[in-house]
């Protein structure tokens, strides 16, 4: 397994290089002068040129790319044009919030989805099954900003149980301030997990080993959670990996609604401000994160199913 992980890490290097090159090209191709955007309409051409020179934007594109790559190898992505701080420190200051939010959201989704997925599979086409699937469709269709606001209104304003917005960096404070955002994302993502697990469990329930386990007198709960769930988990693990990778940068709307200083929001504001160093730095981070999540997903297969050889 370790050898597999190391080989995958090596393979990731050209992949990340490719992602970064494409991102560099796209960002620089989009119209927009960072100096002009920052200084606004009142600035003279001389002021804009001074700022562009300070950022190295008047250098040839290839030179800018080489400078960027050289810095990236040393994990130095330069300074943010808009924030006037190092890209590494800017990303690091927001990575914790984003990381916690993603993990918390996936945990919420799994806590809801696993028992419901099994229950609806076992009670196919009964009231619980219809109710869960109908509720799931409504939640999945609901715009995240709207669901977030509803939850904020209910639990933050009306009941006063949780903060309506903001992020506290202490562990307890982070859990408290991320509960509503995580619930928002978790409720939208959970229906996907429920349906996937439900289909997989239905299929597994017809397997001969289930019948034989029941024939041996094993309890229903033990059969379901120890044998059926484990054998039904591969599709769910795949989906969890894909969703987690997406959520790394895809939580921007929820971050916006709840004022969470996360990486998604940083990406949107940096693209808007043509803050090239931050966009490029974030691309590397997201690329590495997705590759790492994919690797963990593959490793999880091997843990769940001993027949899988890496």
């Amino acid at each position: 397994m370790l050898r597999y992980a190391a080989a995958r890490a090596l393979h990731a290097i050209p992949l990340v290089l490719g992602i970064v090159t494409v991102a560099f090209a796209i960002v620089h191709l989009v119209p927009g002068d960072p100096g002009r955007i920052q200084l606004g309409p009142r600035a003279t051409e001389a002021s804009v040129r001074t700022l562009d020179h300070r950022y190295g934007l008047d250098a040839p594109l290839l030179q800018q790319y080489v400078t960027f790559l050289r810095g990236a190898i040393q994990l130095d992505f330069g300074d943010s044009f808009a924030l006037h701080a190092s890209v590494v420190s800017t990303i690091a200051s927001r990575a914790a919030a984003s990381g916690l939010l993603v993990l918390y959201s996936v945990l919420v989704a799994l806590v809801l989805a696993v028992p419901l997925g099994i229950a609806t599979a076992v009670r196919q086409r009964r009231l619980l099954d219809h109710g869960v699937r109908l509720t799931g469709m409504v939640l999945y269709a609901m715009p995240p900003f709207w669901l977030g606001l509803l939850l904020s209104l209910a639990f933050g304003l009306k009941l006063g149980w949780l903060p309506t917005s903001g992020y506290e960096s202490s562990f307890g404070g982070a859990l408290r301030s991320l509960t509503l955002p995580a619930l928002t994302i978790g409720l939208i993502v959970a229906p996907l997990f429920v349906r996937t697990l439900r289909a997989s469990v239905i299929e597994t329930l017809t397997a001969p080993f289930v019948e034989s386990a029941q024939a041996r007198g094993l309890g229903r709960r033990r059969v379901l959670y120890r044998h059926v769930l484990r054998n039904s988990s591969i599709p769910l693990v795949t989906l969890v990996g894909l969703v987690t990778g997406f959520l790394i940068s895809g939580t921007v709307i929820v971050e916006n609604v709840f004022a969470i200083p996360g990486l998604g929001q940083l990406l949107v504001t940096s693209v808007s401000a043509r803050d090239f160093p931050v966009v490029q730095g974030l691309t590397v981070v997201f690329g590495v994160a997705v590759i790492a999540i994919n690797l963990l997903t593959d490793l999880a297969y091997a843990v769940l199913d001993p027949r899988v050889r890496l």
Partner: protein, 537 residues
Amino acid sequence: MLRGKRTAGVRLLMFVTVMVAMATAAGCGGSSSTNGDGSASIFTGGTPGGTPVRGGTLVFARSVEPASLDPLAMTDPGSEWVNWQIFDQLVEYLPGAWVPRPGLATSWTVSDDARAFDFVLRRGVKFSNGDPVTAEDAAYSIKRLTSPINANASILGKTLKSVTVTGPDSIHVELTKSTPAFLYYLGGVQASIVPKHMLERIGEKRFAEAPIGSGPFAVKRWQRGKSLDLARNPHYWRSGQPYLDGISFRLTPDSNARILAVRSGQADLADNVPFSQIASLQHVPNATPLIERLAAVSTEIFNDGKAPFSDVHVRKALNYATPREQIVKAVYRGYAEVANSAIPKTSEWDPDVKPFPYDLAKARAELKSSSEPDGFSMTIGIASGDPDVKLIATILQDSWGRIGVRARIAQTDFGTLATKYFAGDYEFDVFPSDAFATDMPVPDVIGGLLYDYGNGHAAGSNYNSPQAIALTARATTTADPAERRQLWSKLQRLTYTTDAAFLPLGFLPARTLAGKRVHGFETLQSGNWRMERVFLR
């Protein structure tokens, strides 16, 4: 288990239920609100005053965060209004009449030709680190107005010739030509007094991260993307002030989140309350929407250098075909005044200039006299993510369509819109509501930008009128107050009525939501807040 036809019936019921639920969920949003009455009494003023109470930290949920804490470097609202709490200027603006008052300068004299200024500095003032504020600091700070990092250097520093220290508490400023508005410039945040030796020692970059000023508050902690915490400046020169122990500016981009934060007591103030929510917020128990006078106007821009917008008859036709009253009602919910000027109301604003009436007959007549008598197609450029701007564009598209002008709305991100705008690659752009605001009581800065083609091509509008250029040059340099007023009035009529150079819509107010415990808070016309006067009770 249900089977057969009953199963199909259940499925149909489920489908219908889901569709209704989705439509309800997707369609709901915002809050229902009633229109403002659109009368002159839209202004509420600030929060109540009373006997100040010392203590407490005020939490301010803000829509934007500072880009830089160097007062010279940035003119965005996120930076500017925060920097005003950290720094002082030689002259300052207070609630009430919007005129320069003694700040770090206790008195001044201005030569008859408005080319020479002498300032006597306030004694005993210290920066927040305990260092004294000296005449060298004042001179250094004024000289910085010419720095290339100053986005307004083309105006604020344009006529600055020299600044010399004439005594331990006095400085002398010489200009290359008469600039009566220069005194007003010194009340702007970019003319903030900064510690010379510290800046020279650590450099502008580090200073912008951890600045030192003599204002009522000092930077305690700045967490980019999250919050900026200020603490009381123990050396502040106003005895007994500030009353607050500190201010925490919390970045909260979503307007609903800002409002909920104040309503739940998590925050005390929230800025940029959406127009659509003002009426409903007037009925909530523990928060009050404040609508206050602001020097801001919603002005949309033709590309005056590009056909057919280079034709004054086309511009006049579109101005006549713009339903301003409808826009004030539909977009600003009555909380705006129809604008009769492309620049905000300042000291030289002429109230007697008549706004363009909504008159389709006149619009068609102007179009018939123009280079496009049979109408034409055009593109309205807007930035994505702003519902007010989208609504304005939609109303214009509909109304202009009735005179034969077929407009397509093109949405792009703000960066692309701005780049195309400054490259002259646009026809007509609708900007966010706060795009044309000024922190100066005088029109010289914003008028100089918009009316003078030599200044960045009239702020990118390409309005090139030799008459406007000449009038602006005279208006910004005459030392005769009566002549100044007359010239600015002429400019207003020329640019608005005669040339219809732009499409002004409405004068806009400051919109803040205040929690019950906030007292003494007020937004000045410049957009600034005098937070040293605010207290919590």
